[in-house]
């Protein structure tokens, strides 16, 4: 069982088990030995649901990556494609099918994830290969349990699709995913939302509910409230540099599907007699989730509080190992030995995280990190947001990574509700000259989604929003936090504040501020079979952000 999924207030393992069951059923449908051809984008999300052993149980003998040409030879009866419904991939599949060895043909099947697509099937038909497929199915993988309190759709491009290309298909998937969630965990009595996309998702959910009017689930609702928030209600938070332990790991090394790849040198095992010449060249891959005790403890701490936590842990572990001296009787020795694996695991975990913390510290103690953070905090508190920032100018001159520059200028724009024309023109020119003219496309896109735009005639509401929702907390306590602002050492994420206020005292109290944020805000109630409605003292709120 996925132990990390039990630790939240909601048992998300149910969701995962349901997903595994569906996967097994499909694999059995394609009876006999099989090879899976993977759309590599899916290997990550799938990894959160099942691993190779499950596939092996259902006669999966080989796995390949989807690419052009011919599928490598393998003595299997079936070839199963696991793909997203994308047209480009259909062309590749058609090529694969066409170049199959006619003398020893294998059966073909497709599993579309998360949904079938008429468009794709038509494409296959055009290429003349649609009839070569025995089974075409869809595997509905919408909300994937990531950790005990986190579900993810792992849909990287949905922001771009919704706000840039006005393609709201991902919202449809989101609504479907939420319907599935309700089928397993009960109808959610209250839906609150803010934003255009949120409104769409809610409308879709209500419509879908009407269509399936016949089936009432007799499940005690696990969730009291559903909160839907558009990403563009809070554009500031993702731009700011994260300062929690997990946040910094992501900033520096990037966490994908619950895994991180780290430089191997720091993790090389020092074996006796070796002069360190056999250093590994492959990056060290670590899985990160709350099933690991130490990680669960420190992941959400502000990085400045991690050192103390690690030393404390080191003492606890040392003391535990020292206990061996106190074990005298056979019974005591036996007990000590039985604890050993757990203690060794804890020590190894400590070693890993100490190394990671050291790697992070190298960055956070650098002058550049400090300067960058200072500028971020100045923007967030409204200092000099109407001028060209000399720090940003210097970074461009040094040709720092473009993403760093863009984050900063967008932050300035968001905190100023758009930049003065002169300032914007200056930044634009610097960026185009230093990083290339093709970035007129980048800049246009940023303007379209509202991240980097010229000042409009409307006044800047950000200071009011900041004051009303207390987004900036001067005396935030990093070591023993009592307020969420500790995660950015002073800045409380806007979306979190909205959720907090919703829970208590309710959004009525911030009507004015809500009007300043983009998109409509709304409230809906859904029918729950009588007798099943229960009010909780600590409501469980499911927050979904597009």
């Amino acid at each position: 069982m996925a132990s990390h999924l039990f630790c939240g207030r909601v048992n998300l393992n149910i969701l995962r088990e349901a997903a595994r069951k569906d996967l097994r059923e499909f694999l059995d449908k394609c009876s006999g030995s099989k090879a899976i051809v993977w759309d590599e984008y899916l290997t990550g999300p799938f990894g959160l649901i099942a691993q190779y052993s499950l596939l092996k149980e259902h006669e999966v003998e080989k796995m390949f990556t989807l690419k052009g040409g011919r599928i490598p030879s393998a003595a299997v009866k079936n070839i199963v494609f696991f793909v997203r419904p994308r047209l480009e991939l259909m062309d590749i599949i058609a090529e694969n099918v066409a170049s199959e060895d006619k003398l020893h043909p294998r059966d073909f099947h497709i599993l579309f994830v998360p949904r079938r697509s008429l468009l794709c099937e038509q494409r296959l038909k055009e290429k003349g290969v649609l009839n070569s497929f025995t089974n075409i199915d869809e595997y509905i993988l919408d909300l994937i349990p990531y950790d005990g309190d986190l579900l993810s759709m792992e849909s990287e491009s949905s922001f771009r699709e919704c706000y840039l290309e006005s393609d709201q298909t991902s919202l449809y998937h989101a609504a479907k995913g939420l319907m599935t969630l309700q089928a397993l965990y009960g109808t959610i009595p209250q839906i609150f939302g803010k934003g255009e996309c949120a409104r769409h998702v809610a409308n879709m959910m209500l419509r879908m509910k009407r269509e399936f009017a016949g089936s009432h689930t007799q499940i005690l609702p696990v969730f009291d409230t559903l909160l839907l928030l558009d990403r563009n209600v809070d554009l500031l938070t993702p731009l700011a540099t994260q300062l929690t332990y997990e946040g910094l790991i992501d900033e520096i090394f990037s966490i994908t599907n619950g895994y991180v790849k780290l430089p191997p040198e720091k993790f090389a095992q020092k074996k006796q007699g070796e002069g360190g010449k056999d250093l590994p060249t492959e990056p060290k891959k670590l899985q990160l989730n709350s099933a690991e005790e130490l990680y669960a403890e420190i992941r959400d701490k502000n990085f400045n509080a991690v050192g103390a936590a690690l030393s404390k842990k080191a003492k606890v572990i040392s003391a535990a190992f020292e206990e061996r001296h106190n074990a005298k009787t056979v019974g005591e020795i036996k007990q000590f030995v039985s604890q050993l694996p757990h203690m060794q695991a804890a020590r190894s975990s400590l070693a890993n995280h100490t190394s990671i913390a050291e790697l992070i510290k190298d960055i956070t103690t650098s002058e550049d990190f400090f300067d960058s953070l200072t500028v971020e905090q100045e923007f967030m508190t409204g200092v000099d947001t109407d001028k060209v920032s000399t720090y940003i100018e210097d970074c461009v001159a040094q040709k720092d990574p473009l993403i760093k520059i863009l984050r900063l200028v967008c932050m300035q724009s968001v905190c100023n509700n758009g930049l003065k024309q002169k300032v914007l023109d200056f930044y634009k020119r610097e960026i185009l000259q230093t990083y290339g003219y093709k970035h007129i496309l980048t800049l246009k896109n940023l303007e379209k989604v509202g991240l980097l735009k010229p000042q409009s005639t409307m006044r800047n509401n950000y200071p009011t929003i900041r004051k009303t929702l207390k987004l900036w907390m001067e005396d935030t306590n990093e070591q023993n936090p009592n307020d969420i602002s500790y995660v950015y050492s002073g800045y409380a994420p806007l979306s979190v504040r909205l959720t907090q206020v919703l829970a208590r005292p309710g959004w009525r109290s911030i009507e004015e501020v809500l009007k300043m944020l983009p998109g409509p805000h709304f409230e809906e109630r859904q029918q729950v079979p009588t007798g099943l409605h229960k009010k909780r003292n600590k409501p469980v709120i499911l927050v979904k952000s597009a």
């Binding site: 990390h4 990556t65 468009l119 449809y172 007129i440």
Partner: protein
């Protein structure tokens, strides 16, 4: 290779679980061995739906009369006739993955009803499928006209055309919509797909007349001019074999090109495309940018004399004076990164305006003379004593401090 690793990683995880190589209890999804008692106990315990199985509500592919009431006419189901269904019914069938036929919708009105119904259910796939049918059964003009009044359908159509690579049609659509700037940018974007620099240059030239915004028009013009010149410069370099081929400037940003020019073509007359002066003028590069770039290039080549000339200006009296649009401390940093000798560094440290900054930079880069002079000017005896200890006994700087400390005429403050 990346993708191979991704696929292999699924296998690797399995191995890791069994070996537990460095003693870390790897979090594995199958913590319990499959088939064990505890596993099956958990399986049954986690089933909360009384009686029913855990599975996602799947789209039903087998005909069933007991489900969905709305929108279905029983008679048509009994008849099994696909051609008698209303737009709503057809869309329902499409949603359920059942066979359907759009051909029956012949009149414009019917087609539009179908489209509107597809839009109402928000299913992107469905909307696109209907659009494909409309695309082949309606004239371009009528389709465009109707789409203009239907925002959601229009967006899907644009997306579809993009995915299918139907550039021409897309451009026409944008034009019809009056979204001329979008259209221009869309066209321009295609240059990214052209690998050959000559072809890319020609393509950029063809973009010049497009209806960009004023700013973007200038940038595209610059882009074309730049690439055109980069090609010429590269060709010349090839002919004369003067400079190492590894530094190709094709498709590099303008600042990088300027750097290259300051590196290999410094001092050339303004008449040649490759000269820094020419580049500076043609692409309207700011003084600050120019000096920073030239400084970087000349410092790398250790041409301290050239660096010096960059900052020389004549004041109104005709005297040469040193001026810099960037702080001299920045200049010092760049020089130091390129291993400038101390005497060169000192010259620029001396030009730093702010005394505190000057001192801290001098300390950082061990410009002893400047440090000593500053402390002398501040009449700070104690600091001099402390600093002396950092120096070598017999060095000239050490002796200089000694002399100062022995000078009775100086009235020290401490």
């Amino acid at each position: 290779k990346e993708s191979k690793r991704a696929v292999n990683s699924i296998l690797v995880d399995d191995d890791d679980d069994e070996e537990e190589e460095d003693g870390v209890e790897r979090v594995s999804w199958s913590g319990e061995p499959v088939g064990s008692i505890s596993w099956s106990v958990k399986e049954t315990a986690s089933s909360i739906r009384s009686g029913s199985e855990q599975s996602f509500p799947k789209i039903d592919t087998t005909p069933s009369l007991s489900k969905q009431g709305s929108g279905y006419s029983l008679s048509s189901l009994f008849k099994g006739d696909l051609y008698d269904l209303s737009p709503e019914e057809t869309v329902r069938r499409m949603q359920k993955g059942r066979a359907f036929s759009l051909e029956k919708f012949r009149s414009l009105q019917d087609k539009l009803l179908l489209l509107d119904e597809a839009v109402a259910v928000y299913d992107g796939n469905l909307i696109t499928a209907v659009l494909i049918y409309l695309k082949k059964s309606l004239s371009k003009e009528i389709l465009f006209r109707e789409l203009m009044a239907r925002d959601v359908a229009l967006r899907h159509y644009v997306h579809y055309l993009k995915e299918m690579g139907e550039q021409k049609l897309l451009v026409e659509l944008m034009k019809a919509l009056g979204r001329t700037e979008d259209m221009a940018l869309m066209q321009y974007k295609e240059h990214l797909n052209i690998k050959d620099e000559g072809q890319r240059r020609d393509f950029l030239k063809s973009c010049l007349g497009l209806p960009f915004s004023q700013d973007d028009a200038t940038h595209v013009q610059d882009h074309y001019t730049l690439l055109e010149r980069q090609i010429i410069i590269e060709a010349d370099a090839e002919i004369f074999k003067k400079f190492p081929r590894k530094a190709s400037i094709l498709n590099m940003p303008i600042i990088t090109t300027l750097y290259y020019s300051c590196f290999y073509h410094y001092g050339e007359s303004e008449g040649t495309y490759s000269s820094p002066e020419n580049i500076r003028k043609t692409f309207r590069i700011s003084e600050k940018q120019y000096i920073l770039t030239a400084l970087g290039a000349r410092a790398k080549l250790k041409s301290w004399f050239d660096v010096d000339s960059l900052f020389n200006t004549k004041n109104w009296l005709g005297y040469t004076k040193k001026r810099s649009p960037i702080g001299f401390h920045r200049v010092v940093d760049i020089l130091q990164k390129n291993s400038a000798p101390v005497n060169v560094l000192q010259e620029y440290v001396n030009l730093i305006d702010s005394p505190e900054l000057k001192l801290s930079v001098a300390l950082k880069y061990k410009c002893h003379d400047i440090v000593i002079n500053t402390y002398r000017d501040l009449k700070d005896r104690q600091e001099l004593v402390v600093y002396r200890e950092k120096l070598e006994r017999d060095s000239p700087e050490y002796r200089k401090i000694q002399e100062l400390l022995n000078n009775v005429q100086i009235r020290w403050k401490n």
